[in-house]
Symmetry: C2
């Protein structure tokens, strides 16, 4: 048993706490208690609470940049398949961290900025997929935004991702709607 902690453990635990209990629960004394150490440990690794928050944010940036998109691209397939893949990946994933980051962003400008960049990147990716399907720029943009906003909305209200009764049916309807060319 390695009772001694490293900086990484603190950051990981910070991320976990953020994801499960929100940014307000990321406080040094309570966390120290849960980790069975005192804050003496914390202040050895970090200048102050804010330093931890910054580390947490940049850890998330790492995850989010090297993210679903990469994953989807690795799976390959044509645009239709990739869109489908992206959907299911997001819908089935655990989005609590993303959600809490979004909430955190409401009260912290650095987080806000980081989040916007990630959002931008994702929307652009979606746009490209739709263009690949033959949609015009503006058609692609409209669709990409609609989808992305819906995805965000989906998990900020934590809708049970898959309706237990009519599961994939709705998914297919929406999917077809998005893919259908206008007129």
């Amino acid at each position: 048993m390695n009772k001694r902690l490293g900086k990484k453990q603190w950051i990981d635990f910070g991320l976990k706490t953020l994801a499960t209990q929100g940014i307000n629960a990321v406080r040094v004394e309570p966390m120290a208690a849960e980790l069975q150490v005192t804050k003496g440990s914390f202040y050895w690794h970090f200048k102050n609470r804010n330093a931890l928050l910054e580390e947490i944010l940049s850890a998330w940036k790492g995850y989010a940049t090297n993210d679903i998109i990469t994953n989807v691209e690795e799976q390959g397939g044509d645009a239709t398949q990739r869109i489908r893949c992206l959907f299911t990946t997001v819908l089935e994933g655990d989005n609590r961290l993303d959600k809490e980051i979004r909430i955190w962003a409401d009260s912290d400008n650095n987080v806000q900025t980081a989040l916007r960049q990630i959002d931008q990147r994702r929307v652009t990716y979606l746009e490209d997929l739709f263009k690949e399907l033959g949609f015009t720029a503006i058609q692609a943009t409209a669709r990409a935004r609609l989808v992305y906003h819906a995805l965000i909305g989906q998990f900020t209200m934590d809708v049970p991702a898959i309706d237990p009764f009519k599961p994939s049916r709705q998914f297919e309807i929406i999917f077809n709607m998005l893919i259908q060319k206008p007129n």
Copy 2:
């Protein structure tokens, strides 16, 4: 000049503070300072902070129940017009309060419950509109959810509601997409 405060002023100011600075800023001493009184006033009107929070929540429930839907219904018109009206009303409105309520709900179960009810009501309303347009139940459900989630997503990321350059164009695209019958 009426320097004396009533319960209502406190609640209103609470709502305002919530909308502009989030639930974390709804604290009695800071609010008292801004209102140019001491907390002696607050504790005369309320048992404790939580009592204020409850009042705030139920005030919001009032707004939210007697809400956009009522508004849209008053405007009248057929389903298409009403959907269009609902869209623009929401997109042009000030959704900060709704957003902060949603954030608040993340850390308070009562709020969560209230919010779910409102969400439910709104989605159902949308569903009915789509049914009125001749969609089957499941088609209507899928569309209603997609739209609602997108709307939520739209303002939880605070996307500039109307893109300054291509304003209504995207709106029309999405609108047509939603209204078009499958196949």
